[in-house]
């Protein structure tokens, strides 16, 4: 794949450019993207609220600010594709079509949750929706995603595995190990580095040498940096990347430049960055504001139309919060179930 890969391996995004994607998405497509992103935003805000009320415990990593990444990529996946990610996973599950009720009830640790309350924020799965977690060990999602891809190839089912990681994960040894194997065996895996600029509290400049999208170059894996605050740019890059991977050419790395508005987790005061930096991103680069403007401009979408969507989303989230509080806790005897698949 030599020249094709090498040409792509040095593609760096101009993060200040306005996306100029052709063909322009239809009004329906834009509305769908808007709706998906808004659901994640509102869901996460509600989760933050429930956390503050003590209804959600433990670690809770919110996705607010990063919505365009998973929404853009998911919008161009095929049904047989599989997804695996890290612990910042609520958005990925919603994008994969998992129900807000099931995700929220898992956050409250109730029976109606995807893992019946046994997994929590970081550990949810849905084989039916092709979502394989939800992994709490930084870097693990890349190896598991490589394995999902191995199985796609083995079964010849035409699927691609989308393996998400953060910029922090990108430094793990197993990521390099997986790049090597995936390139060697031409596995159908799209590695997505969600670069939200901070590995917990350590900025890119302090934790990563070189460019993350270029780290596959030595293995012949094309890499590309994309503006992750622009859902159209993400969508266009993902479409191209998925085509490449699905055609049997092997893995592809998308480094998606994004930003999380909240701390690393609920307990993080985020003192390692200036408030002005956060405010600037919120005011000038917000992915949901951006698509709103784009829709108004391209299709003359009215505020009333958007308000109706907002209302619909609010209702879904409200219902999920109610469901998550009403769903019963597991019976005490469930402590002992699900350790092993019973054989006899």
């Amino acid at each position: 794949m030599g020249s094709k890969a090498n040409k792509k391996a040095s593609k760096k995004a101009d993060l200040n450019a306005v996306s100029n994607v052709s063909p322009q998405p239809s009004q329906e497509e834009m509305l769908a993207l808007y709706k998906d992103m808004l659901l994640i935003r509102r869901f996460e805000e509600k989760a933050g609220q429930l956390y503050g009320m003590g209804l959600i415990g433990g670690f809770c990593h919110l996705y607010i600010g990063q919505e365009a990444v998973v929404t853009g990529i998911q919008s161009v996946q095929e049904p047989q594709d599989t997804v695996v990610t890290t612990y910042r996973d609520h958005g990925h599950m919603l994008a994969q079509g998992m129900s807000a009720n099931g995700v929220m009830a898992e956050l409250t640790g109730r029976e109606g949750g995807y893992s019946r309350g046994k997994g929590g924020s970081m550990h949810m799965f849905s084989e039916e929706k092709g979502f394989f977690g939800g992994h709490g060990i930084v870097g693990a999602s890349t190896a598991i995603g490589t394995g999902l891809a191995f199985a796609h190839k083995y079964k010849e089912d035409g699927g691609v595995a989308v393996a998400y990681m953060g910029d922090g994960s990108a430094n793990q040894g197993q990521v390099a190990e997986c790049y090597n194997m995936a390139a060697l065996w031409k596995l159908p895996v799209l590695y997505v580095i969600e670069n939200n600029q901070y590995a917990m509290g350590t900025s890119n400049a302090r934790h990563a040498a070189g460019q993350l999208y270029a780290r596959g170059a030595g293995y012949g894996i094309p890499g590309e940096q994309v503006d992750g605050m622009d859902v159209f740019a993400v969508q266009a890059a993902a479409r191209q990347a998925l085509d490449y991977v699905r055609s049997g050419d092997g893995p592809y790395i998308l480094e998606v430049m994004t930003y999380r508005y909240r701390g690393h987790s609920m307990s993080d005061p985020a003192k390692y960055r200036e408030k002005s930096e956060v405010d600037d991103m919120k005011s000038n680069r917000d992915p949901i504001d951006a698509i709103k403007e784009a829709m108004k401009e391209a299709y003359d979408v009215k505020d009333e139309d958007l308000k109706a969507i907002d209302k619909e989303i609010k209702a879904i989230v409200k219902e999920s919060a109610e469901f998550a509080q009403e769903s019963p806790e597991l019976a005490p005897e469930e402590l002992w179930t699900d350790v092993l698949v019973e054989v006899e």
Binding site: F125, F132, F150, A151, Y154, C178, M181, L340
Partner: protein
């Protein structure tokens, strides 16, 4: 003085080999570095180079000779000015080794070399129990799953090495289920670093028998992902020591996911490889991981001793819908036993085997220590002590029932393992006995373990550090107050 060329040890555990071919013949002149013969070990065919210069005076072991012990003189080399007549004069002299210096290898008598008897001690009948795993987790003592080993043995057996039995079990399951595949370092083209996967590439091709880079963390995690997505991987670690690189995925990704997913996503996978000490390979290549993996809910852990164990447990592991760790033993790979020929000889995980019935003391062991325990039992019998030997076969879930029933009968117990004592399997069994059979004990429990030090390289110290037959004999006599 003529030089004797000795049968070389070409691997840490080699005790004998076949003289496949002489490359040089009597009268040939050789220089150091010349290939003089080809030796077939149980793992590979290797060339033997001459260390010294001279003329091959006499070939002592003919081409094609089988099972030539390491250090047996195979030829005599004449130096300048010597003739064949000098050979006679030198015979009986302790000439220096004329080839690769040989490490003292483990005494073949350390483990039963002959095929073990097919006679079977009486075993608990076992019982089908609903929610077995839950009861086990709650600490309940449950009868093991039913299994009629005697009938399998009576219906026909074949003599096999442990290595062959492991391979055949994998091949049979790969024929039955095309989602089963094996990956690891050197498993395909090299036919296995220890030749356990010999022939699998030829039969199943490179889609299902996959050489990986040396990248344990990565390929173990990758295999877990493949298991999530509908495949049944067998992950070979060249040795279990290297699996420490991968233990995060074995535990965090494979063992815990079913629970974290509320029961909806399982991980059918086998992690296997040689465990424990081999011979003179030093501290980093000689650790027993039984207690590490046995500690973890969500994993099953088996550790075969005989070839029959290997066959039946490997098949059970591959068929099991849960992650299973198989702790093999390099020294056992070459040893032969009778193995039932029935392809449905699948040993239930969680069931121990009483290898020898006895009434005076219970000796519990697993893996290579079973052979030492049986040897100890023979020695004890000569001294009037009738020992019962239990081969655990499965470490987790431990067959508590069989151990406890035995102790209730003998009132004395010795636990043997090649691992370290602290928080080891013996410590777990001690707790089991303390909790469930305290009143039955006529003497405090004894453990025979590796010394609590990293395994030394020096032959004398290594022998001291590893648990030996005589220590089992000694411990058994102590608990019998003899």
């Amino acid at each position: 003085m003529t030089i004797q060329v000795l049968m070389p040890a070409l691997s840490p555990t080699m005790t004998e080999g076949n003289l496949a071919r002489w490359v040089k013949k009597e009268g040939d002149t050789v220089e150091s570095g010349d290939v003089i013969a080809e030796i077939e070990t149980d793992k590979a065919t290797m060339e033997v180079e001459s260390v010294d210069e001279g003329v091959i005076g006499k070939i002592l072991i003919e081409e094609g000779a089988q099972n030539v012990s390491v250090n047996t003189p195979i030829a005599v080399l004449l130096e300048d000015g010597e003739s064949a007549d000098d050979i006679q004069a030198d015979s009986g002299n302790n000439a220096h080794a004329g080839n690769i210096p040989c490490a003292p290898v483990s005494d073949p008598a350390d483990a039963p070399s002959a095929t073990m008897s097919t006679e079977i001690a009486a075993q608990p009948a076992g019982a089908v129990v609903e929610n077995r795993d839950i009861l086990y987790a709650q600490g309940t003592v449950i009868e093991p799953p039913p299994f009629d080993e005697a009938t399998f043995m009576a219906e026909g057996t074949v003599e096999q090495t442990v290595r062959e039995a492991l391979r055949d079990a994998m091949a049979e399951e790969m024929r039955n289920d095309d989602t089963v595949h094996i990956l690891g370092e050197e498993v395909a083209e090299y036919n296995g670093a220890y030749k356990v996967t010999q022939g699998l590439l030829d039969e199943f091709g490179d889609k299902r028998v996959i050489d990986t880079p040396i990248t344990e963390h990565g390929f173990a995690g990758m295999a877990v992902g493949a298991a999530f997505n509908g495949l049944k991987p067998i992950v070979e670690f060249m040795t279990m020591n290297f699996a420490m690189q991968a233990i995060d995925h074995i535990i965090n990704s494979a063992a815990k996911t079913l629970y974290m997913a509320g029961g909806q996503l399982g991980c059918p996978i086998v992690f296997r490889g040689p465990n424990g000490a081999a011979s003179r390979v030093g501290a980093q290549h000689s650790q027993c991981f039984a207690s590490w993996y046995a500690h973890v809910p969500g994993l099953k852990v088996v550790s075969p001793w005989s070839a029959a164990d290997a066959k039946g447990l490997m098949k059970a592991a591959i068929r099991d819908p849960n992650p299973v760790v198989i702790l093999e033993n390099e020294i056992m790979y070459g040893q032969s036993f009778d193995v039932p020929t029935d392809p449905e000889y699948v040993i239930p995980i969680g069931r121990a085997k009483i290898e020898r019935e006895g009434s005076d003391v219970t000796i519990v062991a697993f893996s290579i220590m079973v052979g030492k325990a049986l040897e100890a039992a023979e020695k004890l019998a000569e001294q009037g002590i009738d020992a019962e030997v239990i081969n655990l076969r499965t470490i987790r879930p431990l067959d508590r029932y069989t151990i406890l029933e035995s102790v209730k009968k003998t009132n004395r117990i010795v636990c043997c393992e090649e691992g370290w004592p602290f928080a080891g399997i013996g410590a777990e069994i001690a707790a089991l006995i303390g909790e469930h059979a305290f009143d039955y004990l006529d003497a405090p429990l004894k453990r025979v373990c590796a010394s609590d030090v990293p395994l030394p390289y020096a032959a004398n110290l290594e022998a001291l550090a590893l648990p030996q037959t005589d220590e089992i004999v000694h411990a058994a006599k102590e608990v019998c107050y003899q």
